[in-house]
Amino acid sequence: MDNDLTPERLVGFWRDMLRIRAFERAAVYQSSLGKIYGALHSYEGQESCAVGICGALTSEDYVASTHRGHGHSIAKGARMDRMMAELFGRETGYCKGKGGSLHIADFSCGMLGANGIVGASYAIAAGAALNAKISKNGRVAVAFFGDGAVTRGTFHETTNMASLLKLPLLLVCENNDYAQYMHRSETMVFDNVADLASNYKIPGVQLDGNDVRAVFRAATTARERALAGDGPTLLELKTQRFTGHSSGDPQVYRTKASVDELRRTRDPIAAFERELMDAEMLGDGDAIRAAVDAEVAAAVAFAEASAYPNDEELFSDVYA
């Protein structure tokens, strides 16, 4: 795998971040029109995390995701049109409309599923890593989780066991400071998630999740360590969500001014875009922006044009 951060690669990261943001904005908009039935947890603001991590993976590596999973799916290679169709509850969606936002999965690109249970991704990813280790298939697995999931017992159970078994696993904490509505200072007695790693005798690295290059490099190092048989790595990506917890969250726990401030000072896409332009890698970027907008528009059109599943679908896929 080419780990060089070539200009093409960096522009690709920028494009994928744009794609995630455009998808999320379209989803929130379509939801506001009443076209999306279930709740959404927007990934807006965290795009560089998914793109940097998944940029270091192959299409065969595994990802287990969270309730805020759209970005992970897109970065891992899932198709926007089938994702949007899933949000619209249509039969062409990844889960035939039966999963919705919380359960989008694309096993063909190693995306083992978003998840409605906070703290469920660790063990599923560890299992994929265990299978990779035993079958020696050269793959690694990533468990994405938020800071709010670190207080689940499954974090301790899985991190200890994965270290013990030296599983090829990346534990990726996207620390956006909030467990639903609670700031982490109100739910955690420790300051840094990465600090927990030393107790499990694995590397713990805290980094700026907005720095897509740094995220990519850290993931690349962790992947190499995992494939060398040295076990998991805990990465804590300091990030931020630009929206509420979910589409219905009035955000009474923080001020609008503080969110505006985040958008102004902590936008991972804007900062990266400026860098690429200053380095003359990007030009004006308009062609890419237009392609992204077209992809999202096509995804919405595809979803709207797709049928709802037949009534018989209620009963299929319960068992093999």
Partner: protein, 329 residues
Amino acid sequence: MREITYREAIREALSEEMRRSPRMIIMGEDLLPGGGSFGMHLNFGELFPGRMIETPISEAAIVGTALGAAMTGGPVVAEIMYSDFMTVCMDEVVNQAAKIRYMSGGQARVPLVVRTPYGIAKGIAAQHSQSLEAWYAHIPGLRVAMPATPADAKGLLKTALRGEDPVIFLEHKLLYNVKGPVPEDGEHLIPFGCASVARSGTDLSIVATGLMVSKALEAADTLAAEGISAEVIDPRTVSPLDWDTIFASVEKTGRALVVNEATLFGSIASEIAATIGEKRFNALDGPVRRIGSPFVPKPSTPGLEKLSVPSALDVVRIAREMMPRRRAA
């Protein structure tokens, strides 16, 4: 046919399937020292190097990891030392393993078997003696097996390991040392949802699960001596349930008594009884009766423990009540 114990039958099924599927793994706590908690894995460490995954006491991580391994490979056996401990991995069982196929629109396959000993034993009290099969059977997506004989234990476990659905495989602790004829055939497979008629009879159908099959058979002997011919049906799997065999028996006898070891309230016995009443009311000569454990935790002390589970005598007593009164000669 040679006779082996229930324990040996399970060990045989595991070792045959481990040989058959080079990708199969077994994970759990204390799998190897002394052959495991119930001696299930004698010599497996030497026989299957690298495929016996010893884990810490971390049930949620065990089942969750087993699920992830099953979704990407498998088959995988996760052993939970006592079924009471399933309560600490219910998210992984109920929200994850049971639902991932449906939630993913059929993308996921889950060749996962959670083996776990259940039921009453010897004074091990409220946290080691429960029969929680109704909890799992209530969940769409799970399969639940409760073998009552060594042959069924082998055949059902092999079927479970060749499938792609998550199976909760419930082994009764008091059956581990019970011997019975077991085919040596490596293809001895018993389909799920296929009840066995453990004893034929004409006057009364007794549907019993797990350890209660032996209690029902013991009761049937006593009843036979009194001129009452009881048929004993063992569903073998409680999800799915073999309604055809149960209904056919009730149509023949006109009387149904359902027996399980679980707390009666909200139990599989209650579900079976309700369904017989709903679907075969016209075949019945009287109300369906149920026997299960009283609504109390399991006590440790022997006298109270004995009172806390159904006995063969309970079955005999209720069966007698169900028969028409004989006129005095």
